[in-house]
């Protein structure tokens, strides 16, 4: 187990024993990454803050049930991703709106809802154009740098499916970012391990 995971396990044990400072330490260790995942999934800062808050409340309420089979962070990010999906469903829309038909590069000087994400607008727009499952895989693996296996555990799908989603997601991103001509898809169906 990694030092981070060991540290998390120790903090959880302290928290369950009533050590309130462990709560703050756990929050500080993970809040930026959870927020980053939520922001890139939901593309709206306010919504991402809500999802981050909801994620931590859910996790701390159930932390006594954390089995330790996987890293605490894996469990935490799984809850975060599912919370984002749930929040998007509750709001009656997908996590993000699709790309406009012309798919042209974003005008960085234009004040739009994209600006609320406070990230590179053209990248945010391109990420927003991905199907939600592809976006989740790309965010976890390429933006957050998680291992394919970890992303598979978080998303609850085989590693092969994550690979497929990342591959296709990157290509769609590139097409949106670089106005590339769409490439033929060598993956007719998602492959599985």
């Amino acid at each position: 187990m990694s030092p981070r995971a060991d540290s998390d396990t120790a903090l959880i044990e302290r928290y369950l024993r009533g050590d309130v400072s462990a709560f703050n330490d756990l929050m500080r260790s993970h809040e930026d990454r959870v927020f980053a995942i939520c922001l890139r999934m939901l593309r709206d800062r306010e919504a991402a803050l809500d999802a981050t808050q909801e994620t931590f409340i859910t996790v701390f309420r159930k932390v006594d049930r954390f089995s330790g089979h996987s890293a605490f962070s894996t469990w935490l990010y799984r809850v975060a991703v599912n919370t984002c999906y749930d929040q998007a469903r509750r709001r009656g829309r997908r996590p993000t709106e699709p790309l406009p038909e012309d798919g042209g590069p974003a005008d960085e000087g234009t004040a739009t809802a994209l600006d609320s994400a406070e990230l590179r607008p053209d990248l945010e727009r391109a990420l927003a154009g991905l199907p939600p499952d592809f976006r989740a895989a790309v965010v976890l693996c390429d933006a957050e740098g998680l291992a394919l296996q970890t992303a598979a555990e978080i998303l609850g799908v085989p590693v092969g499916t994550v690979k497929s989603r990342v591959f296709r997601g990157r290509r769609l991103l590139a097409e949106a970012l670089g106005n590339l001509r769409p490439l033929p898809d060598p993956l007719r169906d998602e492959h599985h391990d």
């Binding site: 809500d50 996790v59 159930k62 089979h69 085989p158 590339l180």
Partner: protein, 255 residues
């Protein structure tokens, strides 16, 4: 392009191949315009993602997040006092509503929660209010923090006792009994590709691959649950476990 494995192109773009293999693959790809375009696209996307600054919380957002989560967990004293004009969760109205729901729940038999209608948020709220009222001494404030979270979770997890399968709430026990009574539908619903909560199920039901048996994502009236089971003869179920797909917490198990 058909000669090239997309996984290897992706790995090459990500720089995870060993240098010799990467060099050889890159030479081959260079001779294939479609593969070269694919590699370029993969690299372009990766470069953009890697160069993007990581989102970070502002100091105020960070403090408010700590405060809100701590409040929901009844840990207000742990969080620094923060003055903010923005309130993420209207705690007090929720506390009143949740207290009312808890009182209502006391009069509602829990049996049947698994089979009632689609209003998941309301049902989950009632169920959680009931559970929380039973398991904590602090009523209103704790319930206040519960309401929104559980309404979003909307699965059986909201109603299950956390400690162990043997103490599962009656409604989860009812689900177990239904699966045992009608194993054919559960066995038919098994999804060979399902990996959700597999690790947790293997630990509970036995190490190694789960077959004979399998796992299924099952829709209940109160939401989806993941069911992993063992079936020695392919017709009956000897043991099974039900998990909340959101976080793989155990809801109930048999035996």
């Amino acid at each position: 392009m058909t000669d090239f494995d997309p996984d290897r192109i992706a790995a090459l773009a990500a720089g995870t191949l060993d240098p010799a293999e990467a060099a050889a693959l890159e030479r081959r790809i260079a001779a294939d315009p479609r593969a070269a375009a694919e590699l370029a696209a993969q690299r372009l996307a990766l470069q953009a993602l890697h160069q993007a600054p990581a989102p970070v919380l502002s100091a105020e957002e960070r403090s408010e997040l700590h405060r809100a989560v701590a409040a929901a967990l009844n840990l207000e004293e742990a969080a620094p006092a923060v003055v903010s004009a923005r309130r993420r969760v209207p705690w007090r109205p929720i506390a009143v509503a949740a207290a009312a729901l808890a009182a209502l729940a006391a009069a509602v038999p829990l049996v049947g929660l698994l089979s009632v209608g689609e209003d998941q948020a309301a049902l989950s709220t009632v169920a959680e209010a009931t559970f929380t009222a039973r398991s904590t001494a602090d009523g209103g404030e704790d319930l206040a923090g519960t309401e929104e979270t559980v309404a979003d979770t909307a699965t059986l997890g909201a109603q299950a006792a956390p400690e162990a399968a043997g103490e599962a709430a009656p409604e989860a026990e009812k689900a177990i009994q239904e699966f045992l009574d009608d194993p054919a539908s559960l066995i038919a619903a098994a999804d060979a590709d399902l990996s959700t909560c597999r690790t947790e199920a293997a630990d509970l039901l036995g190490e190694g691959p789960l077959p004979p048996g399998g796992g299924a994502l099952v829709s209940r009236d109160t939401g989806e649950v993941v069911v992993w089971f063992l079936s020695a003869d392919g017709a009956s179920v000897q043991s099974l476990a039900i998990f909340d797909p959101q976080d793989c917490s155990l809801l109930a198990s048999h035996p």
